[in-house]
Structure formats: structure tokens, C-alpha cells
Amino acid sequence: MSFFLTDIGLTDAVRNGAAFAAAILYFSAFAVLFIKRKVWQRISNVLWGMAIALNALIVGNNWVVNGYVPFVSMYQVLTFLSLTYSLVYIYIRYRHNGAFMRPYFTVFQGLIMTGVFFMGRVATQWSFPPALQSAYFIPHVFSYMISYTLVAVAALLCVISGFLPLPQKKLYEKGVYELVLTGFPFMVLGMFLGALWANACWGNFWSWDIKENWSLVTVLSLTVYLHFRRTPHLARYAKWFVLVAFVFEIITLFFVGMFDGESVHAYS
């Protein structure tokens, strides 16, 4: 029993093993999808389902250990983000006929679970600071997760559409538009819930904090994309802004801590 469980949750060995297995399963599900036989599609479903189950196990464990939503460290956020891809895919699949996007969702899940190995994978009880004890916290973070998921896949579709013949290219470009159209409202929601929260906590809607600014330019890039594609003169430049938004998203998520100056978002 002690091999699997400690007094607060799963042991490190089990969590790390589950994360590793989930990454392998996500990549396998991705690879198998390219074999166009029905039986392999079913195998992919099974592999994907197993990966999701392991991923959910880790997230559930982190949740129980924290006693709260697992958004403490980058490790917890990434495992949660990987799981979010499944939920978002299911929505896109049925709402926007997005079955052709499945490999791209799956490959991101695999990449994220691989990224988890380069993080400190500590699961300890969280000392939840007073500033974070707010009703805005969960919707703020979760909205951003959903939007980041969609923008990442949209950027990948953008790159791939550049190499495809015309009918498929149009399908992919439309896919990019659908994904951005779904992700953008969540990004705006996340940003403005953050602003309302900041007004309740720090007394300012906007502090020109380094993380806030990078997230603002991300939103603006997507805004430029949505506007440019409506105008004949500018439409051909539009999709570059999805790629730019993805680059800014990565900077906001991972690299803001490396810049000069203190961030009010430096909690974990």
C-alpha cells in the first residue's frame, strides 16, 4: 500500500510513472491516427482514453493534496491544461465538425505531459495566500486555460495549412477561424475577470504588470487577426497574427518570470 499511497495522496513514483505513461499514450494515440483504417482509429480511441484517465488521476491527486483546485505550480497547471485539451476537443468536435483537428489536440497533450518532466513535480499542501482567496481565481485561470488551448491548436493548423492543397487548406483555415472565435471570448473573459479582481484586491484595474502586458498583446494580436481577415486588402496577412499570438502566449505562460522587474503574478 505504501508504494502507491502516502498519507496525503499518491507517491512520487506513481505520479511520475502515470505522467510518463500518459505522455507515451498521447503520442501513440496521435501516431496511430495517421493509419487510415477503422480498427486503428478505434485503437487510437482506447489509447487516448487511457491517457486521459491517467492524466485525470494526476489532476485528481493534486486536487485532493491541495484541498483546492490544482493551480499552485507550473506542474499542476500543465497537467490540468493537458486535460483541458480533451474537454475543448470534445466541444470543437461536435460544435464545429472539428474531428480532423484531433491529432493536433492529442500531440499538444503529449508535448505538455512531456514538458511536465522538466518541472519540479512536488505535491505539497498549498499555503493559499490571502490575495488569491477570491471568487475570481478559478474562472480567471480556467478561462485562460481554455483560450490558450484553442490558440495553440489554431497556430498549429495555421502552419500546416501553408503546406496543403487548396480544398484542405480552406478547411484548415476555417478551422483556425473557428478555434480563434471560440478561444478569443475566453481570453477576453479571463483578462477582464482579472481586471475586476485586481480592482477588488490591489485597487487598480490594470497595473501594467509584465504578465498583464504580455497577455494584452496576445489579445490584441488575435483582435488584429479577427479584424484583418474581414478586409480584402489585409486578409492575406491575417493568419500571421495567430502565430504571433501563440508566441506571445508562450512568453506570457513560461518566460515572464525570466524578465527584469517584479511581477504581481509571481505566486508559484
Binding site: S127, L196, N199, G203, R230, L234
Partner: protein
């Protein structure tokens, strides 16, 4: 402007009923100009963000930001006026969102011009109460900036905009301030520099009263000094206000739950132990800098904010959220989207989306 647009663009030509032409809601040339302004705004903010990230100081406090945002506000207002859709029912989101941007920018611009912010340090504890102190918004403390006034004086706030001291119009002090902590955590630094967490049972007190833990390394028991960390779980205090120096009203303040009094909104920012000194100034009781007798006390930092157009900013934000959601999720394409993918796969022309 709106009429002119309507005249120049016009709806779909009735001469070709079988091939319905899509009429743009904004004249393409005007749209191009406005979208390039949007791109310029994004680029300007990106350049500022990159400079800020590179460590350049004072990027966001100057007029360039106000200028960029004002230009963007004017462009949004122009788009709002020039917008002329064929089916206005689907443009509800556009109107809500773009009016929200203008309302928010007006709200924040008025605050930028006429609002006021001050930080106040208060002490809790019998030995040094009641005192009221304040400091300037700028970084770096100087003695004259940190004053603790004697009881009976009206609370005053130094306005960083005008450089004068203004009366709040009411007296207030902090009472019954409590800090709740999480159970302490213990950690030690190993030889290779990694910080290792230890449970409370493994921590002992040595002969000098210091916290240590014993770790078995290569068969030898080694003793490491242990650091105890106490993280704050909750701050809460009661603010006692008096408008006429006779009657007192009390309000509870905590982080994320600011308190309104008069024109001011008061935020609890922080509370931590600090050292106070007796001041030589007859008006001033205590100061954070000085040479004479020192007092240790928990210093409670409050922020006072006067924002006459806060309701506009909040309304603008709510309109922007609602507008974006309506625009992105309630669209005409939703009703005719069923088999577009299959059609496109078969090579048929894509529908306008």
C-alpha cells in the same frame, strides 16, 4: 458619417437576385485605415512591453500610453459610427463590445486626470496606537513622507498629483487587527543547495534553542539547521471611522474586500512586522526612519483610492465581456453550418463566414 456610408456602400444589388453579394458592414477603405490603427496600437503596446521586459523604467507612467489608448478609443468610436450592417440583429454584439471599449477608456481617463491614490501605514497594538501615518506614492521612503499623526487630527492624504496635503474629511484608525497563519512548514538546505521539506516530527530543538533536524547520510548522522516558514492564511481588521470626531462607525476590512467611506475606497494591502522610531516633529508621533527609541509593531498598509468614475470602468468591462461573447457565439453562420465541412471536402466553394 453613418448616412454617407449607407449611401456609398448600399445593400446587395437587386439586379442579380440569384447571386447574393455580401455587402461589408464598414466601407473597405475606412475599415483598412481603422484596422491599421488597431495594428499600430498593438505594435506600440508590444514595443512598450518589450522595453519594459528589458528593464527600461517608467514606460507605463508617461503620456505615450495615454496617447496610444486615446487614439485607439477614437478609432473604436469612429468604427462604431461608421458601422452599418444589413442585419442589425446580428450586430448587437458589435455595438455592446465597441461601446464598452469607449466607456471603459473614458472611465479610466477621468480617473487618470482626477483620481487620487495614497498609501497609509497604521499600527495595531496598545503601545503605539492610536496613530495614523501616510507615505507618498513614489518609491523610496524619506522621513517627512512617513508621518504618524497624533490622535484628534483629521486623517490627511498627500496627493501625488498636486503635491499638496488634503483632508480626507474623516478620522479613522485600525482596531482589532488579526492575522491567521497556516500550520508552520519546516525545511533545510542540503549540501548541494537543494531545499528539502521536513515534517514537524523530525524537527528538534538543540541546546541553544535553535531548530535542527538529523539526517542519516552515508551511515553518519548529520545535523542541519531548519527554517520555519509561517504563511499568512487570513488578515482581518476593523476600521473605526468618525466623520465628526464624536460618533464612530466600524467596518470590517480584509484582502479582496475593500471598504467604502465617503469618496474613498480603502484596501488592505499588507501587514507585516516593522520597526518604528520616535519622531522629533511635534505633530508626528512615529516614523519609519529615525535615530531615537525604536518600537517593533505590526505595520498595516492600506491603500486609499478616489475614483469618481469607477462605475464607468466596471460598466465598460462588463459590456466588453458581454459584447465579445455575443459577437463570437451568436452569429448568423450558426444556423447554416451543418454540412459546410463535407461540402468543403468535396471541393465546393466555402461559404462566407
Amino acid at each position: 458619417m453613418k448616412n454617407k456610408m449607407r449611401h456609398t456602400t448600399g445593400c446587395a444589388a437587386p439586379a442579380e437576385p440569384q447571386k447574393k453579394k455580401h455587402r461589408p458592414a464598414i466601407h473597405p477603405k475606412l475599415a483598412t485605415v481603422l484596422y491599421i490603427i488597431l495594428f499600430g496600437t498593438a505594435l506600440a503596446l508590444l514595443v512598450m512591453t518589450v522595453l519594459d521586459s528589458a528593464g527600461v523604467e517608467g514606460i507605463w507612467s508617461g503620456t505615450p500610453v495615454v496617447l496610444v489608448l486615446t487614439i485607439m478609443g477614437i478609432a473604436v468610436a469612429a468604427a462604431f459610427l461608421a458601422y452599418n450592417p444589413c442585419k442589425p440583429v446580428y450586430s448587437l454584439g458589435f455595438y455592446i463590445l465597441h461601446i464598452g471599449i469607449v466607456v471603459f477608456l473614458i472611465g479610466t481617463l477621468v480617473y487618470h486626470i482626477s483620481g487620487d491614490v495614497a498609501y497609509v501605514n497604521l499600527l495595531n497594538g496598545e503601545s503605539v496606537t492610536p496613530t495614523i501615518s501616510y507615505r507618498l506614492r513614489q518609491e523610496g521612503y524619506r522621513e517627512e513622507q512617513i508621518l504618524s499623526l497624533k490622535e484628534g487630527f483629521y486623517s490627511q492624504v498627500y496627493s501625488s498629483e498636486t503635491g499638496t496635503i488634503t483632508d480626507l474629511g474623516f478620522l479613522f484608525r485600525v482596531a482589532d487587527f488579526t492575522t491567521e497563519y497556516y500550520p508552520p512548514t519546516y525545511s533545510y538546505t542540503a549540501q548541494d543547495g537543494t531545499v528539502i521539506t521536513v515534517s514537524e516530527e523530525n524537527v528538534q530543538t538543540d541546546s541553544t534553542g535553535k531548530l535542527v533536524c538529523c539526517v542519516l547520510q552515508d551511515g553518519v548522522e548529520k545535523e542541519y539547521p531548519v527554517t520555519q516558514t509561517m504563511n499568512v492564511k487570513h488578515y482581518q481588521g476593523t476600521l473605526a471611522f468618525s466623520d465628526d470626531n464624536i460618533r464612530v462607525s466600524k467596518k470590517t476590512i480584509s484582502v479582496n474586500h475593500p471598504v467604502y467611506h465617503g469618496d474613498w475606497k480603502i484596501y488592505l494591502m499588507d501587514a507585516k512586522p516593522d520597526t518604528f522610531y520616535l519622531s522629533a516633529n511635534p505633530l508626528v508621533l512615529y516614523s519609519l526612519y529615525g535615530q531615537t527609541q525604536a518600537y517593533g509593531a505590526e505595520v498595516i498598509t492600506l491603500m486609499l483610492k478616489k475614483d469618481p468614475t469607477e462605475f464607468l470602468s466596471v460598466a465598460g468591462i462588463l459590456l466588453m465581456i458581454i459584447g465579445t461573447w455575443v459577437m463570437c457565439f451568436f452569429r448568423p453562420r450558426d444556423r447554416k453550418n451543418k454540412d459546410t465541412v463535407r461540402q468543403e471536402k468535396t471541393g465546393k466553394e466555402a461559404r462566407h463566414i
